[in-house]
């Protein structure tokens, strides 16, 4: 009974230590990750309506609509972690021993395993040769450890033994990144808030939650603006924000401009520019209307959809407005409105007015000539609110990973052995990476030895 239990534990251990498992997991993760890029995650209603009920049932059962958080995907990640830890636990002590207790004796067995070896005849007794070779190694490579066995001298020198640990740094970094991600998912949140110009709020809406969450301080949107390129494509979305504690502006956090790619962070909570829109229908539009036969212009102030009486029994109504007319009328720029003009007699007319072209409406040849003086339109700014205390752990992990990869790939553990016996010097060497470059070095070394 005990033996079979032991056998099971042992085979489980071997299973988790195997590199075949790592390769399978890595390829498995790559293959399954594709699913979530093809099936929309948290799909919109239109998508759900476009596929069959059976498919929806199947996909939800398999967690395909939130695949990267489904139990089986998380399981794969846990298996990867266990695999990683098990492999390291198994190999690290061996590697550590390899570094801390290097093979000092250059015997025949070792010699046979090395592809780079060379033998010389040299004058002088063993002790003098030993001194000479030790000085040579120290000058050309690294300080050797000298061991004497039965009148033979063995010299061992190495460079960058710790480069062997590079891969473990990489593997550790993956675990650090996972820890950072877990911290973020337990202690952080993502939320959204809309703040109208001139107002403030301390309440934000967390993802997937109905009730608002109180930040403990308030943010006021002083102003929002959007600017455009000549082509009509957006150039910049900008909000000016002030942080308020107990209703008072916090010094250093007043009138801070934030744009896409330049957020505001206060008390570990970051506010990102994400969207904007008109704040309610509070905007007031200003016009003048003048009779084409002359006379003093009449000032008109109107809200959207409001029916405004004009002199002579006519009416007007603001239908829509834009900050920039270029996408609709490429020859013009600047703010514009579309109004409905109802003359005292006759058909209603749709009239476009451009703020920056005051004479534009003259061409219409109507009885009343309008100009548009602009609006004090209020916007809301849409802010993404995020708190992620794990993010620094993730960056630490990423840095560790880059460092580890460079050590693992580009540093080489180089070792040289010298044996001095019977008036002969035998040299052997090996490197963990870039063997051809090491061979050049080794050949150069033996050339120098020949000339000694």
């Amino acid at each position: 009974m005990t033996t079979s239990k032991r056998g099971f534990m042992e085979s489980a251990w071997d299973f988790f230590c195997s590199l075949k498992l790592s390769i399978s997991l890595l390829i498995g993760l790559a293959a399954t990750s594709i699913i979530g890029t093809v099936i929309p995650q948290s799909p919109p209603r239109e998508y759900l309506e476009s596929i069959s009920a059976a498919k929806i049932k199947l996909y939800s059962a398999l967690g395909f609509f939130d695949m990267y958080h489904s139990w089986w995907f998380i399981l794969l990640l846990y298996l990867l972690t266990i695999n990683l830890v098990a492999c390291s636990v198994k190999r690290l002590p061996r590697i550590w021993k390899f570094i801390s207790e290097p093979t000092l004796i250059f015997d025949d067995g070792l010699e046979k395993t090395l592809s780079l070896t060379h033998q010389f005849k040299m004058e002088g007794d063993a002790a003098t040769l030993k001194e000479k070779m030790a000085a040579f190694l120290k000058g050309e490579f690294a300080e050797p450890v000298v061991t004497e066995v039965d009148g033979e001298y063995h010299l061992f020198a190495q460079k960058a033994p710790y480069s062997r640990l590079g891969v473990y740094v990489v593997h550790l970094s993956i675990i650090v990144i996972f820890i950072g991600a877990l911290i973020g998912s337990f202690f952080g949140y993502k939320a959204y808030v809309q703040i109208a110009e001139g107002t403030s709020t301390s309440l934000v809406y967390k993802q997937g939650e109905e009730r608002p969450f109180d930040l403990g301080f308030a943010v006021r949107c002083e102003k929002f603006s959007v600017s455009f390129y000549d082509t009509g494509s957006p150039k910049e979305f900008k909000s000016i924000l002030t942080v308020l504690e107990n209703g008072q502006p916090v010094s250093g956090y007043e009138n801070i401009p934030i744009v896409v790619n330049s957020p505001l962070t206060y008390k570990g909570i970051t506010f990102y520019q994400s969207s904007y829109g008109p704040a309610g229908d509070g905007a007031v539009y200003y016009f003048t209307a003048q009779n084409s036969k002359g006379g003093a212009p009449v000032q008109v102030a109107a809200r959207k959809e409001e029916r405004i009486p004009l002199p002579g029994g006519a009416f007007m109504r603001v239908l829509e407005s834009t900050q920039d007319v270029r996408p609709f009328m490429p020859m013009f720029s600047g703010p514009a409105v579309r109004i409905e003009y109802l003359p005292a007699s006759g058909e209603p007319q749709l009239v476009v007015l451009l703020r920056d072209y005051p004479d534009f409406d003259r061409q219409r040849g109507g009885e009343l000539i309008f100009t548009y003086a602009g609006a004090d339109e209020k916007f809301y700014t849409g802010l993404q609110v995020a708190k992620d205390p794990g993010v620094w752990v993730v960056w630490a992990g990423c840095s560790l990973m880059v460092l580890g990869i460079f050590i693992a790939f580009f540093l080489s553990h180089k070792r040289l052995w010298f044996r001095i016996a019977n008036g002969r010097v035998t040299v052997g060497g090996t490197a963990s990476k870039n063997q051809p470059a090491f061979q050049l070095f080794f050949d150069g070394l033996t050339e120098k030895l020949k000339k000694m």
Binding site: K20, I23, L29, Y68, N261, C398
Partner: protein
């Protein structure tokens, strides 16, 4: 002189270089080989000047940004990085012949950009107005380019291996005999990926850093992000495959080709077939 003229010269030069490489394979003439890689380097210099000129032109018309902001510019840059990585590997390991399998990728990129893509210089949309764009795009593309080179080498590996298997003799066969031995090709494949993998890793990390900076989330499983991770998984599998018995050689070469196919999908396919935050290639 305009950048677009110079890009045309670049395309032609890469074409000449590719033909010379094919002639080199057929003739085994060293001079032809030298001419082939010289043509590639000449094209590279012209292309470098053209990219710099386009950068300047974008300032002249008032948009002022690095030429990395739309599909045309990225394809041109990709082709430039492919020749750069090829040059590094040729310079370091002295196997000129891999150019025959690498220069065509660069030519394909340039030809597509010049013939099929709109080359206008457009202003940057707000989401791309960040220095992170530079770090992110440059590291990713250098990584992709190293994978392109590895893919070319892996194709050579499979061709060579098949031929050696068929004749049972490494010396036989005119053109293919020019190839380095399969052992060397296997090693070069690994070396190219050893250049590409750290670059892709840094590319993914800078992308995550940028996303965190701009949107407050370093990872959101957007299709482009996910595909870059898929590519990363495949090459990580490759690295482990190499240290496992039975996975060196043929299987590693296939993994490298699959990896590059995934890379190309990550670069182009995601934008063409899937939707997400990276409107970049549209």
């Amino acid at each position: 002189m305009t950048s677009s003229m110079l890009f045309n010269v670049t395309t032609l030069t890469y074409m000449v270089s590719m033909l010379l490489f094919f002639a080199f394979l057929a003739s085994r003439n060293r001079t032809v080989g030298l001419a082939a890689s010289s043509a590639a380097y000449f094209g590279f210099i012209v292309q470098t000047v053209a990219i710099a000129l386009r950068w300047k032109e974008s300032y002249d018309i008032g948009h002022g940004h690095a030429p990395l902001s739309n599909l045309y510019e990225s394809v041109v840059f990709f082709s430039w990085t492919i020749i750069l990585i090829y040059g590094l590997i040729e310079f370091k390991y002295k196997y000129r012949v891999i150019g025959a399998f690498v220069v065509p990728f660069a030519l394909l990129g340039m030809a597509w950009a010049q013939l099929g893509l709109s080359s206008g210089i457009e202003p940057l949309v707000p989401a791309l107005q960040s220095n992170w764009l530079l770090y992110h795009v440059i590291t990713c593309f250098l990584g992709y380019a190293a994978f392109a080179v590895a893919c070319g080498i892996s194709i050579m590996y499979l061709v060579k291996e098949k031929q050696e298997g068929a004749t049972g003799d490494a010396q036989a066969g005119g053109i293919i005999a020019q190839f380095p031995s399969i052992k060397v090709l296997d090693d070069l494949n690994y070396k190219a990926i050893m250049i590409g993998f750290p670059l892709l890793t840094i590319g993914i990390i800078t992308g995550a850093a940028w996303a965190n900076y701009a949107w407050g989330t370093y990872w959101s499983w957007d299709p482009k992000e996910t595909w870059s991770l898929i590519v990363w998984f495949i090459y990580a599998a490759f690295l482990h495959a190499r240290i496992t018995r039975g996975w060196v050689g043929r299987r590693a070469a296939i993994l490298s080709i699959v990896g590059f196919a995934a890379t190309i999908f990550c670069y182009l396919g995601v934008n063409l077939f899937l939707s997400g935050l990276h409107s970049y290639g549209k």
